[in-house]
């Protein structure tokens, strides 16, 4: 056999092994839903699902890095609200050109997201605060700041360019979904192909071994939170553009839980060391389809959490089985 083709086969099998389960589950779920409900299978509905999951999906991509490095980030939902609120306030403060205002908002949202992530990273890496505690603290802080600057209500803009960008559809696919896909490709490469990605997995697998291998474990952990914060900032920008407003009370609420669930459903190990960005994308799509189809079936919104919770538990149980 040609060495090239064995290489290709090997790559395909590794890819399937690491991400195959969640994608297979996604395909089955899609088929079942498409067959059982004609409204579900309309193109418009499918596009809507991808748009709905894209905001928490972006956050889930960043969360994959934090979990791969053996950490957890509970603050990303609040960080989305905070950077969203401040970026719209910033946008409204820019006189004249609407395009310039959007550019300012974009810089603010991404920079604030990165800064929030950096704060988390510094607490964990330098302050040696356990990730759960550190990000629980910043979860409360970011939300409180969002409420303070947003006067506990909706922060809106009248910027038409922002609305257009937020609602833009390119080739039938909404802009946030494009960004989700592009970032999935890029971040998957970062995790699998770069030194940073390798070091993140090493630190998550066994931090002591990583330290003995002269890896700068603190810096590596810092980067994971920086990435997570940045994805929250990007998400905030797109999220605000959808309705040209951000609610300081409800924006990003419990997104961190959806993101964590997506990472886990996507086959990454909660203990760190093993992670797949493509798996996370499948995870977020599964979550989106489940809540959408429950809507279609007329199941009460209050009960949907129960089903979602069960999906998470069953997904993880199935993965444990296949791992053994």
């Amino acid at each position: 056999m040609q060495p090239e083709s064995t290489n290709g086969i090997r790559r395909l099998t590794t890819l399937l092994k690491s991400t195959g389960g969640p994608w297979a589950a996604l395909v089955v779920l899609l088929l079942v839903c498409c067959i059982s409900n004609e409204h579900f299978r309309s193109v418009q509905n499918l596009v809507n699902i991808t748009r709905q999951v894209s905001y928490s999906g972006l956050i889930a991509l960043g969360m994959t890095f934090v979990i791969a490095g053996g950490g957890i980030d509970l603050s990303v939902g609040s960080l989305l609200a905070f950077s969203g609120v401040i970026s719209i306030l910033g946008m409204n403060a820019v006189p004249g050109s609407e395009t310039l205002a959007v550019a300012v908002a974009a810089v603010i949202a991404v920079a604030l997201g990165a800064a929030g992530g950096a704060a988390n990273g510094a607490l964990v890496a330098l302050g040696k605060v356990p990730p759960f505690i550190a990000t629980l603290g910043t979860l409360v802080i970011f939300r409180s700041l969002a409420l303070y600057f947003g006067n506990s209500g909706l922060v809106s803009s009248e910027n038409e360019v922002y609305r257009e960008i937020g609602g833009a559809v390119i080739g039938g696919i909404p802009l946030p979904v494009w960004i989700l896909l592009i970032l999935t490709v890029v971040l998957s490469l970062v995790l699998k192909r770069t030194r940073l990605g390798r070091h993140i997995c090493a630190v998550g697998s066994n931090e002591r071994v990583a330290r003995y291998a002269a890896i700068r474990t603190g810096l590596v952990k810092f980067y994971t939170y920086l990435i997570a914060g940045t994805t929250a900032g990007i998400s905030a920008l797109l999220f605000g553009g959808r309705l040209n407003s951000v609610s300081s009370t409800s924006a990003g609420l419990s997104y961190e839980l959806d993101a964590i669930a997506a990472v886990i459903i996507g086959g990454s190990s909660m203990n760190g060391g093993k992670a797949s960005v493509w798996g996370t994308l499948a995870g977020i799509l599964i979550l989106g389809i489940v809540s959408n189809v429950l809507d279609m079936w007329g199941i009460s919104v209050t009960l949907q959490g129960t089903v979602k919770g069960l999906v998470i538990i069953i997904a993880v149980m199935m993965q444990r089985k296949t791992l053994k």
Binding site: T14, R195, S205, R208, V209, A210, Y212, A213, A214, I215
Partner: protein, 490 residues
């Protein structure tokens, strides 16, 4: 008079994913007998033990223990001291000893009983460990003693010891042997696994030799010498165990001056030249801590480190590595290798920069590098992608070594490099250390195995209680002089 038959295995077979690991093991063990079990890494010793403990189910064959079918009744009456520690890090010594069978009433623990019982057990082993200490704070040898105490705290008819002495010094080993003889006198049988053939010969009644999953022989210990056991294990004639020494020579490569770190390392000064220098001392003398301080893995409270006369400012482990100072850890699974990572990614873990361009890993170059080490060290593995947890201890150690070596070392600190490594792989390692030293690398060999220190080194540093107790050269490198310096008593 023949004593009672305790254990009988007949034709025990076990394969993993089509690879036979045990090919029909039949042996008997009588009450009050110490049976030595030897074999190279991967010969099937650990798998056999796991079958006895009910952790693996044999594919075929039978195991009878005390007249009952062990596979049905379970391994009650068998206790084991595992090869890798099985202790909960965050619990105390006493809590670990009684883990899972804590004494008490109505769900409340009887802490004072746990403490006093633990103290009694540890005193029996002649070790001073406070039962209230956390496992995390213990040295490797102390952890081993706790494992032994834990096994002894259960009433058992058969005690399985999987390489219990690898981390113990001679004094500690002697205590262990005394306990073993006491147990034997009380009618307990012991299955004793070790790579140290001399001790196998002294302590065991019979010696069973495994090779590639087959029981090669099972003969009385007095009829065998160490060389004969080794020959049966390997299945071929062995060369001289230790290669010719490489005495330190040339200008000093590494100069350590007045180095201190907390209470563990106190004002240590020495020089390393190209060649092999030994570092001996009792467990807890600060040898590992000294090596870790040199590599900036541990905070230095005073002193300096010079490389070829130039003072180094080592603030983080990467600094030491950048200057070619590498450290092979004694704690293979805890700080040496990533057991959940594939082989190739372990090899390049600390040298990944060399296989990257602008941060992107060149997988082909990385795999080629791992491949070359697999060949060079004869690492037995299914593929380069195999996770290290599926490799035997000796092969894991070779990967750990490859990882260190891939950083172009100028100074190589080996900490217990042959711990838990079988005789065949061990002579590979010795030969490799010799080659490295002969090529001009300054090698420091830290070892608790005096035979190894004496066989490998012409110059030996000895540490005692964090200080450098003395340096021995040439004909002074003897067991007596090392122990004298290590213990401070004649």
């Amino acid at each position: 008079m023949e004593s009672e038959l305790l254990l009988r295995t007949e034709g025990v077979r076990k394969s993993f994913e089509g690879t036979p690991v045990l090919s029909g093991i039949s042996l008997e063990l009588r009450a009050g007998e110490i049976l030595g079990l030897v074999g190279e890494n991967g010969a099937g010793k650990s798998t056999f033990v796991k079958c006895l403990l009910g952790l693996h189910r044999p594919d075929s064959g039978s195991i009878t223990f005390l007249g009952r079918d062990l596979l049905r009744t379970g391994p009650a009456g068998i206790a084991a001291i595992p090869q890798e520690f099985n202790l909960v890090k965050d619990l105390t010594v006493a809590e670990n000893i009684f883990l899972g069978r804590e004494p008490g009433r109505f769900g409340f623990l009887n802490r004072s009983l746990m403490r006093s019982e633990s103290r009694r057990l540890l005193q029996k082993l002649d070790v001073e460990i406070d039962p209230e200490r956390k496992i995390d704070s213990l040295s490797v040898a102390e952890k081993q003693m706790v494992e032994i105490a834990k096994a002894l705290s259960v009433d058992c008819r058969l005690l399985i010891m999987d390489e219990p002495t690898t981390v113990l010094n001679q004094k500690e080993s002697a205590i262990l042997f005394r306990i073993m003889r006491e147990l034997k006198a009380g009618g307990t049988s012991i299955l004793f696994i070790s790579h140290r053939l001399e001790e196998i010969r002294t302590i065991c009644d019979r010696v069973a030799v495994l090779r590639d999953g087959v029981l090669v022989s099972c003969d009385p210990a007095e009829s065998l010498d160490a060389m004969e056991i080794a020959r049966r294990m390997v299945g071929r004639e062995l060369k001289q165990m230790f290669p010719p020494t490489v005495p330190p020579s040339g200008p000093p490569l590494l100069t350590v001056e007045n180095l201190s770190s907390g209470k563990e390392v106190k004002h240590v000064s020495f020089e390393l030249q190209a060649g092999i220098t030994g570092l001996a001392g009792l467990a807890g003398a600060g040898r590992t801590e000294l090596a870790e301080t040199i590599c900036a893995l541990r905070k230095r409270s005073s002193g300096s480190v010079k490389l070829a006369g130039e003072t180094l400012h080592l603030r983080k482990p990467a600094d030491a590595l950048a200057h070619g100072i590498v450290y092979l850890s004694e704690d293979r699974q805890g700080s040496g290798i990533l057991t959940e990572f594939p082989l190739d990614r372990n090899v390049t873990l600390s040298s990944l920069r060399r296989y990257c361009h602008a941060g992107i890993i060149n997988r082909e170059a990385e795999r080629a590098c791992a491949e070359s080490y697999v060949k060079k060290f004869r690492i037995k593995t299914a593929s380069l992608e195999t996770e290290l947890k599926y490799l035997s201890g000796g092969n894991q150690q070779k990967v750990a070594l490859a990882k260190c070596l891939d950083n172009c070392p100028r100074v190589f600190l080996f900490d217990e490099p042959t711990r838990g490594v079988d005789i065949g792989a061990r002579s590979d390692l010795y030969e490799f250390i010799r080659e490295l030293a002969a090529s001009g690398v300054a090698c420091l060999l830290i070892s608790s195995d005096l035979e190894e220190i004496i066989g490998m080194c012409d110059r030996v540093l000895v540490m005692r209680a964090g200080e450098l107790a003395g340096t021995l050269e040439k004909e002074h490198v003897t067991e007596e002089e090392i122990m004298y310096l290590a213990t401070g008593v004649n």
